[in-house]
Symmetry: C2
Subunit: 552 residues, 2 copies
């Protein structure tokens, strides 16, 4: 088994001008994202990232590029993803990196890459930013999974380049970035062909790749560039008519770090390694907030809702990668409820289709969904100082539990934003997921809050409190609950939360995070994969792996 | 890690007259199923099954009882499940049994108990056989999960009896029999309350259990029997008007066992431990088959379709429990295609709503779904001798791949039965699942087969062959495929198959088998559960478990 050594520290603060592995260029409606992984430019300078194989540092740049396209280049309708190598598109996640990683890092790495792929699909679905995978060479494993996240896949027809998912036959693990799910559920490849494909280490090429539905077209090398450019133009032409603005620049987040405390402008994260808990505080805006889309645009990346979501995102990622033993996050909010409410109302108000408000909202939704698949427990605490209002109300319903103080001056203020603008992975609003048994209840909550903030007692009556206790009991109940939670098996909690957080309808995403990832996690710790003679361990060595052939 | 010791042998040949743990009694429309687990009457005579805790032998009797109710007592509209103990309903799966089992046995045990719970729901949904859990005492873990599978849950209100899912807080594993899924997806308990409930070792009782939606009613001990009887009558009154017959007796299956070969009347299973493969052959009926429901009823349990499905079910279970290293099953069929076709046409013909045909069909559907979650690869082989016709055609589309010989005399004959009467776990017919990308294709196949058996070439053109090869290549291609398959990581294959076999819509069942079980399997092999100081290992010992607190 792996040792409890800390995973290497990761930075999410990247910028196109400093990308090591990707080049992002924009020309009118079309962007090009070219992957040329710097072999010794990854997270570990000792690990060679051959054949456009990637590690986390490569995926962080990809996620950054997709994010910047949406905010900095909203006029772009198509992003072409291709490789800067001659004969290889992408070989997927680096095997040696995976084989030498701890189990928690492997799982978190896959989770992050999955979020990036789903962000690509989110951009396609909601921002009219279509993606075209121009697979100009071998497209293997995670490379093919990246292509699967795109709207179209074009493969070069050079007699040798294939698409493949060689994980099962070569590594004894699953394609970990949604490949299986997208093959049968997105591209709807016949399941028997999918089975044959996924056990064929060498992959499938040419006409057969098209016939099986694995790619949309194969094109001879001589016509590849032209055809891809032509298809990109066609994709752009089909992109829906959305408001697209001039773009804003995303600045760096850079929290002040003081020991185990991270101070952002609107967010604080305090880690207590000893009790294995963290306190996450999100503050409402301090002063005036924009009243129109134009004012929001003028604020640029300084705008509260953009900045707050990006800070929260950064905090969640630091928690995941750098503070593995913190199992419980106490979520608090602070500030002026009326101001926070106003932020939410603008985001879902009459101007909601303006590009800046749309992208701000979509970004907030993505960040909240990042929380939904963060393998930590979240308890929201609501007291007199709290500001669960507007966008911050959504934090309450994202948490596993809410502790509501029964006292005057304690108020909750859900707004229009909670009516569906910030869907969870299951496609429902978090209020809908909460009230699966009484679908009308979500509307009741929102209707009641239209009159103004909800007093604690009525919020409790409306079903917004897991625990509702008065001054005398509140702190004690919370203290006991926190201690108990932090004492339970971290694995059982993760499993439980992943079954409870997306009740209701299933989507591609819930299948990926709920089903595929769970199987992958299981396989990752089986000796057949990561044992001394497991397939992942033995990869690249002359000996064959040895399996315990009991089928389970 | 567990050693590759064989799991104890299991018998599925049980009968109410020989039940050790349950008593089944029938009075008119109401059946009573009373659980009183014989403490030393389980699979292992050394393990005491205290407090109505169960092992596989207990669940086999439960599954048998549900099955017999449908065939032997089709007039029963409500089955009351209760306990023969004073103060305890059921304590769930026996912890010491679980803790001392191998990983494959644990997983197979949970799979079987899940299938039993889903069979209860299948009877409720399709056979008008409603279930009422009369929880006359503590209802914990798997005990509560059994209640969750019922249509109604009534709990005694005696000041102490609770319902609980103490697995997470006490054992560091998940409730393994669908509990989490049914709490939020079937009973639609609010997810924050579900979270609180599932970490509360002592459970929830009385009014709160009703308020949270965990049970339908709590009733004082003095009124318990009357209230339950009254609710049973009401449930019976609401049971839909379905044809209900006089019942038939189910005889024992008892195959001839010759070394590693199992000979049934219509099924043969030959195990080859050396190559880790098995050959499963299903034969068409030998002679005349019934043309009407009355003739089918007259045949009783000797009727082909009932007997064949029960034999296939038995063979699959023997494979799962007694031949763990067999990873690949070659599925063959033999016999007269016209006769087999006639069987299918009767089952889905004008008399299909008669109780005997309905139950025969539902039973076949359950058996095929047993195959769908059997963690083995299945390859169908179609040659001149084959009879993939009528009910046996469904085997072809249940398999992971089909190898179709390109030769004269090779024919496939899908019939009306494949048009939706035998849904997979996702609720779709297997043809629909196969052709997710072209929903019209399933109809095309059936329309073509209305004219008569499909010649090999047209079956291939219709998309029914994974591999279509002529005499010269067929055996060689199959041989290579079999060898390859048997050489791959058994874990990766299981994960892959569980992601491919139920593409498309999600149901309670796909969530249970796809998501919940996968998380449970992961947790089962984590040191935090089953390591030397894991919670499952330490259960009942004076020391506390020790956790590696990294959240994953």
């Amino acid at each position: 088994m792996d040792t409890p050594a800390a995973a290497p520290k990761v930075t999410f603060d990247v910028h196109p001008s400093r990308y090591r592995h990707w080049t992002l260029s924009v020309e009118g409606e079309v962007a090009r994202l070219v992957m040329k992984v710097q072999p010794f430019g990854g997270q570990s300078s000792e690990l060679e990232l051959k054949s456009n194989s990637y590690d986390l540092s490569v995926d962080i740049e990809l996620a950054d590029a997709v994010q910047r396209l949406r905010f900095e280049h909203p006029q772009v309708k198509v992003c072409l993803i291709t490789s800067g190598h001659e004969k290889i598109f992408c070989a997927g996640a680096n095997i040696y990196m995976l084989a030498s990683s701890t189990h928690p890092f492997k799982v978190n790495f896959c989770k992050y890459t999955n979020e990036t792929r789903l962000a690509i699909e989110d951009a396609s679905q909601h921002s009219g930013l279509k993606f075209l995978a121009a697979c100009n060479g071998a497209t293997a494993g995670g490379g093919y999974e990246l292509a699967l996240a795109c709207d179209e896949i074009v493969l070069t027809d050079d007699g040798s380049s294939t698409v493949s998912l060689p994980e099962v036959p070569l590594l004894g693990v699953l394609p970990g970035t949604g490949g299986l799910t997208r093959v049968v559920d997105k591209r709807k490849v016949r399941r028997d062909l999918a089975d044959a494909f996924s056990t064929l280490a060498e992959g499938v090429k040419g006409k057969r790749a098209v016939e099986w539905g694995l790619v949309d077209a194969v094109v001879p090398r001589s016509k590849f560039a032209d055809t891809v450019a032509q298809r990109a133009r066609e994709l752009a032409a089909r992109s829906p008519a959305l408001d697209r603005g001039p773009g804003i620049q995303l600045d760096a987040i850079q929290p002040k770090i003081d020991g185990a405390a991270f101070q952002y402008r609107h967010v604080s994260l305090k880690i207590d390694e000893k009790t294995r808990t963290a306190e996450l505080t999100v503050r409402a805006p301090a002063g005036e907030v924009p009243k129109t889309a134009a004012e929001a645009l003028a604020k640029g990346a300084d705008g509260y809702a953009i900045r707050m979501a990006r800070e929260l995102d950064d905090a969640l990622l630091r928690l995941r990668f750098d503070h593995e033993t913190v199992g419980l996050v106490i979520v608090r909010t602070e500030g002026d409820r009326a101001i926070s409410h106003a932020v939410g109302e603008l985001l879902s108000g009459p101007e909601k289709d303006s590009w800046i408000l749309r992208e701000t909202r979509l970004n907030l939704a993505r960040t909240l969904r990042r929380l939904d698949v963060t393998a930590r427990s979240f308890f929201a605490v609501v007291d007199e100082k709290s500001c669960f209002s507007g966008p911050l109300f959504e934090l309450l319903v994202a948490c596993d539990r809410s502790y509501l103080l029964d006292a005057g001056g304690v108020r909750l203020w859900p707004g229009a934003l909670s009516g569906g603008a910030l869907p969870g992975w299951n496609g429902l609003s978090r209020l809908q997921t909460r009230f699966l048994a009484q679908p009308e209840q979500a509307q009741k909550v929102l209707a009641a809050a239209k009159e103004g903030p909800l007093e604690a007692a009525s919020a409790n009556k409306l079903g917004l409190a897991t625990v509702f206790a008065d001054d005398i009991d509140f702190e004690e109940e919370l203290r006991v609950a926190v201690e108990e939670r932090a004492s339970l098996s971290p694995d059982a909690l993760t499993g439980m939360e992943q079954n409870y957080r997306f009740a209701g309808p299933e989507t591609l995403a819930t299948k990926i995070f709920g089903r595929l990832s769970a199987w992958q996690n299981w396989i990752f710790i089986r000796p057949n994969a990561t044992g001394e003679r497991g397939a992942l361990t033995m990869y690249g060595k002359p000996e064959r792996p040895q399996f315990d052939y009991r089928r389970t």
